[in-house]
Symmetry: D3
Subunit: 319 residues, 6 copies
Amino acid sequence: MSDSYFHPVSGFDLPRFAGLPTFMRLPYVPPEHERFGQVQIGLVGVPWDSGTTNRPGPRHGPRQLRDASTMIRAENGSTGVRPFEALNCADLGDVGPNPADIQDSMARITSFYDGLMSAGIRPLTAGGDHLTSLPVLRALAKDKPLGMVHFDSHTDLFHSYFGGTMYTHGTPFRRAVEEGLLDPKRVVQIGIRGTAYDREDRDFADSVGIRVIAIEEFHARGVADVMAEAREIVGTGDTYVSYDIDFVDPAFAPGTGTPEVGGPNSYQALQVVRELEGIQIVGADMVEVSPPFDASGATAYLGASVMFELLCVMVGSGK
Amino acid sequence: MSDSYFHPVSGFDLPRFAGLPTFMRLPYVPPEHERFGQVQIGLVGVPWDSGTTNRPGPRHGPRQLRDASTMIRAENGSTGVRPFEALNCADLGDVGPNPADIQDSMARITSFYDGLMSAGIRPLTAGGDHLTSLPVLRALAKDKPLGMVHFDSHTDLFHSYFGGTMYTHGTPFRRAVEEGLLDPKRVVQIGIRGTAYDREDRDFADSVGIRVIAIEEFHARGVADVMAEAREIVGTGDTYVSYDIDFVDPAFAPGTGTPEVGGPNSYQALQVVRELEGIQIVGADMVEVSPPFDASGATAYLGASVMFELLCVMVGSGK
Amino acid sequence: MSDSYFHPVSGFDLPRFAGLPTFMRLPYVPPEHERFGQVQIGLVGVPWDSGTTNRPGPRHGPRQLRDASTMIRAENGSTGVRPFEALNCADLGDVGPNPADIQDSMARITSFYDGLMSAGIRPLTAGGDHLTSLPVLRALAKDKPLGMVHFDSHTDLFHSYFGGTMYTHGTPFRRAVEEGLLDPKRVVQIGIRGTAYDREDRDFADSVGIRVIAIEEFHARGVADVMAEAREIVGTGDTYVSYDIDFVDPAFAPGTGTPEVGGPNSYQALQVVRELEGIQIVGADMVEVSPPFDASGATAYLGASVMFELLCVMVGSGK
Amino acid sequence: MSDSYFHPVSGFDLPRFAGLPTFMRLPYVPPEHERFGQVQIGLVGVPWDSGTTNRPGPRHGPRQLRDASTMIRAENGSTGVRPFEALNCADLGDVGPNPADIQDSMARITSFYDGLMSAGIRPLTAGGDHLTSLPVLRALAKDKPLGMVHFDSHTDLFHSYFGGTMYTHGTPFRRAVEEGLLDPKRVVQIGIRGTAYDREDRDFADSVGIRVIAIEEFHARGVADVMAEAREIVGTGDTYVSYDIDFVDPAFAPGTGTPEVGGPNSYQALQVVRELEGIQIVGADMVEVSPPFDASGATAYLGASVMFELLCVMVGSGK
Amino acid sequence: MSDSYFHPVSGFDLPRFAGLPTFMRLPYVPPEHERFGQVQIGLVGVPWDSGTTNRPGPRHGPRQLRDASTMIRAENGSTGVRPFEALNCADLGDVGPNPADIQDSMARITSFYDGLMSAGIRPLTAGGDHLTSLPVLRALAKDKPLGMVHFDSHTDLFHSYFGGTMYTHGTPFRRAVEEGLLDPKRVVQIGIRGTAYDREDRDFADSVGIRVIAIEEFHARGVADVMAEAREIVGTGDTYVSYDIDFVDPAFAPGTGTPEVGGPNSYQALQVVRELEGIQIVGADMVEVSPPFDASGATAYLGASVMFELLCVMVGSGK
Amino acid sequence: MSDSYFHPVSGFDLPRFAGLPTFMRLPYVPPEHERFGQVQIGLVGVPWDSGTTNRPGPRHGPRQLRDASTMIRAENGSTGVRPFEALNCADLGDVGPNPADIQDSMARITSFYDGLMSAGIRPLTAGGDHLTSLPVLRALAKDKPLGMVHFDSHTDLFHSYFGGTMYTHGTPFRRAVEEGLLDPKRVVQIGIRGTAYDREDRDFADSVGIRVIAIEEFHARGVADVMAEAREIVGTGDTYVSYDIDFVDPAFAPGTGTPEVGGPNSYQALQVVRELEGIQIVGADMVEVSPPFDASGATAYLGASVMFELLCVMVGSGK
């Protein structure tokens, strides 16, 4: 049972448009806060998009996700989980990046998550572009490689861009495998689709044993069947969940830099997370929400809804 | 057969962007009009949103719905119904609310609908937020409680908000049951989903016998099966149909104040209405269309399309 | 195998936001260009909307489609086809219309496509409203009537508008049949839906033998079954493919002048084209993309994605 | 004094968002209405843009102008004029154009305005693109040429476009002079600016004696001085006022097809009309408001505000 | 000199898009905070718009103003004032209104500001619609009537709306004078313009001695001259400053419910506040910023910029 | 006199919405083109924003500026200059940056401009953020320091950001002075305003002799007087002109990352460039146009209009 200090503000008491917009109306408990040590799951913003190769914007993601997340209430209408009563959840604030220096930013991010590891806090991250996952994994997988369930329309497994640039949002998991942060045999990528430059990423996946479930297979088999396989792949070991909002069809999530048409709808977007129940989640992220391309805020609202589903399965995670 | 006076203007004669935007290009026949007594189905606007607890805007709904409805033509492409030839339909204008006084506004609305009852006109209402349904039901259910088919992502059955406020768009059907306007045994709510504050609304539904079909059940069983049950619940008695546009997934209907992701698509949004054929509809409404959050007008256009489907089943209704 | 001159620029070399936006980053080879004679498939813009009876805008379609198409990469992720390596593809530029003279514009368009026929170039056209297809067909079907697979929510088979006006975007295929450009027995229209003025278009279709597959049938039978019938209807003869973006549900393709709710989703929008494999495509078009109603650019991006699918099946077409 | 039948609805009684949006909330009195003969100033919509050479949209202008005009109240805050009490004003509805036939549309427009002339109604027109003014002038100047005060950033005096097309929104006043509808010696054009194709229009103006006041002169001399000259040019004879919304700087009026930066601000936009007091206005128009390029509605609201100023000076006009 | 605890975060250290968006990146010090007693100027949000008679939205104002205010830096580039170093400034959070009960909301607001008075904190308020000023004045003017400098395009001095409704955003200062909260001889209203229902508000102003400076006089005399008179009117006594964002021309501030064209530009919008130097400001507000009508955020950014100017003159105020 | 090959396409021949959008509809002549050596003034895109410290987007600037620039015609309506007839002007394409590596990008840009210097082409650049100017100056000022007229609301003279990062869009001219690319005594900065972090940039300006004309001085003295001083400062030596679109008030140019309210209007935005006549311009740029924040395209259109004015004075420049 959680400490009532960590319960969010209710819309029955304070209208949802009022008050500072923290994640899900949780208390704001940055690392220097006296209650930081009591936090069990920490929601963190990483406002950073220096790895973006095309349309920038995810640096504005955390702020818009916080705003949209004020629509979230206490209970999961589908599963009945009440995460804020189960564990102490809090908004830990943002990691401050250096927008003009990629290496410096990655060092700052890893350092922040090292602090969470020390405090025993499991992180639920709001990015940021997908390069964000790499410095996070450097902290979380310090001791041993993790498994990963990865929802995306791209593999993000490329070697490099623009004549040898190694750190972009198209390369994080190539680096993570190379650095021993991920156990490729326990990695599954779901929803891959769209046009391709070449097969270099897929060849790499095949060579190291990453399981790629393309969208055609996803649509043909359905959520339940695909996710049963995903749970089997990651097994009972520590697992990271990385959710790129461009996994979802752009009609449901237009606000992202590299949309690919033909993806899952919003109901499936939630279902895949609910089907993670039972795996050991040591951290999760929601990345590539890009407010400049999300005029209506619909993408951020879906992103916040998915974050709530992630939180619900993290709470149930036996960790 | 309808009087040709009540036939809408055709886009073959006058382009759809021309002319005053009445509902579906019908003649404008307010209560003081000489033909008012000949109207059989009246389309009414209730531009009012004082019951809104979060994002306001439905007060602008009727005007935008009228504009969008000029895209509607004479015949239902799916069912072949030509409603304007079957019965005398007209745009009865708007009820003028008092934006700064909830009780005064409710009295004005009930009074307007009392006039329709006296004239034997069945109303198809364009709201307004969902509190609109309460003063309408006070006129329509004056003599005996009605059954109701209610499409929504929320039950709107809460007791009160903000420390005891009884009249908001989250409470109309709690009040309607308390006031004897609805027979809870003949009420079915379809599409309920999203996060919840608590179970107080669901407990009330259970205690009085309202049937709640959550979205998981809806997606699992499909439209035909769910609607067969809905028809059975309301049976052959007089029935009201209340359609909150947030029943539909926000990708299809973004322009609303309290969207919930994971809902039906636009085809299902139409199908559920077509499946109402055969029940006794004494009135219907389309509520919570909020133009300030509907920059593209897509929500209003879907709302107008659903209103046309409602009209088609009302015409077939044996009343 | 194509000449490497005709290979598009890769996003690995030049970021997608850089460079002049030609269709799919192909070389720009207008008729006066020295390499024009080597082109096998030509992508052509027809920026024209004088046939539009309601909301104008498709005259801006080609430019926005070019911009969106810079997101397209080299390989079809689903089918593995690499069209730019198979045949010489190029952006042939735009046909310059006369926005204030319909007949003059149609003459200019037919003349341009006559030039393509002479050079042996198969055209993939970006419209323009749907009247565009008529002057294109006048060039392509000069010798004998063509079959046609037509994706749309409207039949575009009406006789006339506004008291006798014969050339609008609601009449092109009526004219094409009358002029002997289409063999009605080899024409199939898929996705038809929405409200209707009357049955005059459908009666015409019946009378000449055009097969109309309404959306209810489409949703009930599924893509594979419907498309098998479509392939059978057009058979092995020369066939044109006309794709009105309003075939797709407006949640996925809002930027069009006459949307109809309840249509296919974006995955189905791609699938129907993939299922054209094996037919003899002499030309294809993507019409009715209307940038003024597509603030987010999502429609153009879907339109460009469909164009890529069309290109992939054209490449495989045995012509 | 006007008949109270013709008084607009007050926002004190019915909120401005309620009710059918007629021009300035005036009664709707189309030609077939019994009170048509009592109208003294008629507000007319001409939803038509077939003369547009670049970005279309003004066909949607009248509807949006009506909507915006519901913000207008009874009294001119600057001049104290209360036009609706002075003369019988009414919304006469729209002229139905033929969007696919320019000549047919012009005939329909002239015919409608012939009817107004017969009934002794002075028209205040909401376009429509600027070609609208030509068929209107054909009715108003049937007997003798008119003077004109013309606010615009373009002269609209070109001979032809696209190889000889004579009727576009860049040519109406060339035609009007040629047809003897305007007395060029009594025509003044104010606000002309932007880049130019060539000097052909300006040479024509010089050759026939039209006075062109470019924006540099306007900014240098100021409103009062420029307008004193304008009043002198048109003198005491019958005069038409044509107001192209692109006269105003696009920061204040973005929703138009051919904006030119560096124009007057919104205060000057109103002032120039107030300075028309004393001239004999037989008709006026507000053209080129293009809703597809006016997402916020600001242009329509400015257009409606200018229309109210035009109405105020028309009321004071000694006619 | 201020305590460094109250210094805002610098964009040189943490990028402006990172971190929780408090007003001007100040510390968040709600009433229950241990440092509340040290605050000298408190920035408060009042997210409330129940008094709005037309287009709602200002309930979302405080959140958007906070977001925009993260662009504000430490020093006034024009006057050199560094307010955060002069006095202890903090974000005190929002007053929680009851969106469905006007009287309850006003009681909550007055109660919150009573708390500020007790603590000796001068408030700078971000509304909310203009009715917000009334419950604030009830706390600030408890002991004696205040003078007021009021920037607006409307007087907000009407008696009532909709048949006797006394509390709307068009009536706050009528009520404030009646309740003895304002000394009408020390009240000046600047920028009044637009169409008017009638003269009832102006007659009231005349009868009690309120000075109204209409926009024509403002533009004719210029900022310096007008503001010299304003300073003289309020004199050396305690004064409230109320700034309705619709004072500014809608090209610069589109996001408001009742815009009036022809207003001051953004430079004048700042200048008028700078000219308040020397008067005794006991509180100030920025009201009627309406995010649903401010898609680009420009209005909120101007509003935040004006709030910074207000803060700078409040700091210099001799209180 | 220019070669007719270099004349732009006229809107009288091909509508402005048709054809590939090159800058001002000029021929596309990249460095490998056979006519490259004949170009006298080259329009270049630098789609790059890696130096942006807050809201990204200018990487999309060149494409949107090209699109907007298709509205530009042949002759300057104010000055009568016809630049395309005076000198051979062409669109040279974009420099391809490396979005994930600042140093690599700067090297690529300098290299491209080295090529222009070798070919004797004077560049008119469309950025990109303001860091773009630095690598351009490294090519243009290789031999000796240049003078500069700099329009902006910021000095861009800061030492570093985020704890020592030297290359951002807030530091280019500090670096340029340090590297000897600019002669600070011949540099004038016009329009500086907004809140400031500190005085470090202004102190540097003072210490090296850069003349800063703040917005208060600009508004007080007027365009003609200020620009006379500017011409005097740069004198007859080689001069660069750098135009940050945020020089202009955000009502006229909303689409930029760091707007500051209270700036010049669009007429003044043009006037200041016209007043550059007579100075020796070796190159110019238009930077910080950010399409993601420019939904209406108004900023790009103003940017393109200013670029045309820059081109006109470059043509007249005695070089």
